[in-house]
Symmetry: C2
Subunit: 380 residues, 2 copies
């Protein structure tokens, strides 16, 4: 088992009706004014907005609102919200939404103390402080509610980059899985695929942390079983709850224990896909890339995927397990090829160029342009 | 899945050679003087003391030493160390040892700001502050290195009580599993049994948090496999590492998610056993009580143990699984009956009286004196 450090100070309140605990928590932390960051308005339909503003009002916490964060969130929106947060001198950022809203909020929280926000993503400026971040999660997917990562796109540069800083752990995240009952199934699936991809990025990096590998297998199987159930019964609250907590655990540090930081080639490749076309949902893109990556990797090193094939799919070898993985994704109605994502063969060179911008690609095996080209063909 | 709150801000450095990170961490936290709390001297034999004082010296951190904490740690020792900590005006407590040393250190840390330390255990005085706690773990068992619990005995009252306060989370715990290679196998087993008991206290409290139940099964199986390996190869460092991290996860909050706080009847019963005879190792006592509790409970409600029998033992029903559980404990050379712990039938009434002192007993099913009597006979 490789050495590691673990630290995750985010507090979580989880369960139906927990949104009402927000006001008291903010009040006890001495926060008088927040900027409520949100997406396109779904939180008004699912009653989350009402619950949030209700508890803020009850504890006399002032708030201003910043709407319009989109999936694959972008730097200009974060800068716009940052300007507002500065002007209004807020004490904290309150993210109400999914991973995009939370990531944008983290960028704003850090940007508050930075000269140039994008420089932090480029590694040119260090994050040394951030406004306190509070989140109310409405889509289980990225795990951003309980980690210190944020990912933003810079559309004019076709770049999608991530940043990590211990200052970006939310102080508190409220996860009420009942509010996710109204999600379209495709969004639930994208969330599930994203969470599974986080686990898979770690799972093949080493074979000695048996306990982490076994936990990750438990997470993968739980996520798939819950997603299966939610296909026919979107309000199955036991499945919503188990899926939500599994997605949080998928990227809160636990799933990576002893796994040397994981691989992350698939995420790098997918980031280029959604930088190429921001309409590609992150989870769906990962659902296309991951089986292709496994296929490509297992040709050279099938042993690496043996344990996963056996313990997750009850199969003796990787190739049939990867086939079953693709069938599972297909059964959920998600894309299983780049073609399904409306990418043409003539786009592949441009995507390859975008991918190669951020070297190195992968940790288990450093991918060259030749590797990526072969992988893209497998995914096509 | 039942509502829950999760919060665990303890930082962990894990792996061979991580003890040397201690001095820098203390220095960065502005700590100039600590009280080093330890047991009977094993840390001088396994080189841990040398590594700790080396890193303290390197960062010019002053320390005083308080030795002699014993298994089943006692209030008088904690009070003695508390007096020294106050007199010496230390900035932090540094626990170097196993669960007993860490629990004693937590009591000292809280006691620093209390009028009467034992009153906190009795629930008469609230913990509202504590000195910062740092730990260097030398025996994986109690999980105290990453939780906010402490258990002490008051021998003159034959009482063993626990306390919880968020102020008692260690700031930092260093877990170097390589230092556990020199442990006698019986101590490794007692640690493994203690960790398994923590998981089992939660495991049967509800059947809806599928993800937690699956994680707990992964932990139980990992702990047993590692202990089996360590029987023949005490220096198997992969098993030491996996066992150590599993024991930490067994009681850092993760294993109890959605399980309504667990049952804890077996711990209450075992606390009375070691209050009756402090020479009974906590883990070994639990190894006697738990199978008996399962046997007693599964008579009325076998379904509750079905999943555990299937997923941990690959068996269809609880009774043969409990038999296998006892055989496993026996194969490790640990006690499987009260008789093995040198308890006589004539002692049972006194033990029953001690158990009944702290009501209610158990959460899944509230145990009466009649239940306890029957259970003790099964364990006898």
């Amino acid at each position: 088992m490789n050495p590691f450090s673990f630290y995750n100070p985010t507090k979580v309140h989880f369960g139906g009706g927990t949104i009402r605990m927000l006001g008291k928590e903010l009040n006890e932390a001495g926060i008088g004014k927040v900027i409520l960051v949100a997406g396109s308005g779904s939180i008004k339909k699912n009653n989350v907005y009402h619950q949030v503003t209700d508890t803020l009002g009850k504890y006399k916490i002032k708030w201003i609102e910043a709407w319009g964060v989109r999936p694959n969130p972008e730097l200009p929106k974060a800068l716009e919200i940052l300007e507002l947060a500065r002007k209004e001198k807020v004490d904290a950022i309150l993210a109400v939404g999914g991973g995009s809203v939370i990531d944008t909020s983290k960028a704003v929280a850090a940007g508050f103390y930075l000269n140039n926000l994008w420089d932090a993503f480029l590694g040119k400026e260090q994050i040394t402080n951030a406004l306190p971040i509070y989140t109310v999660l409405t889509l289980s997917a990225t795990g951003s509610e309980m980690n210190a990562n944020a990912v933003l796109s810079k559309p004019d540069a076709h770049m999608k980059l991530g940043v990590f800083s211990p200052y970006l752990y939310p102080k508190l995240s409220i996860i009420d899985p009942t509010v996710q009952c109204s999600l379209p199934f495709a969004q639930t699936v994208n969330g599930a695929l994203d969470a599974m991809a986080h686990i898979l990025e770690y799972q093949f990096a080493d074979d000695t942390p048996h306990v982490t590998l076994a936990i990750n297998e438990a997470l993968l199987k739980t996520i798939m079983a819950c997603t299966d159930n939610l296909k026919t019964n979107p309000c199955d609250i036991v499945s919503r709850g188990n899926l939500a907590w599994s997605a949080t655990l998928a990227l809160n540090g636990i799933s990576g224990i002893g796994l040397k930081g994981g691989d992350w080639a698939c995420h790098q490749i997918e980031h280029a896909l959604s930088a190429f076309n921001p309409n590609i949902a992150h989870g769906e893109g990962l659902g296309v890339i991951f089986p292709a990556w496994m296929e490509y990797m297992s040709e050279k090193d099938p042993c690496r995927f043996q344990r996963w094939a056996r313990n997750v799919w009850d199969l003796d070898s990787p190739i049939p397990a990867i086939k079953r993985f693709r069938e599972k994704i297909c059964s959920w109605g998600a894309a299983t090829s780049l073609r399904d994502l409306c990418i043409k063969e003539s786009n592949l060179q441009q995507i390859l160029d975008l991918i190669m911008k951020n070297q190195p690609i992968g940790a288990i095996s450093k991918f060259t342009a030749v590797d990526i080209q072969a992988l893209l063909m497998l995914a096509f």
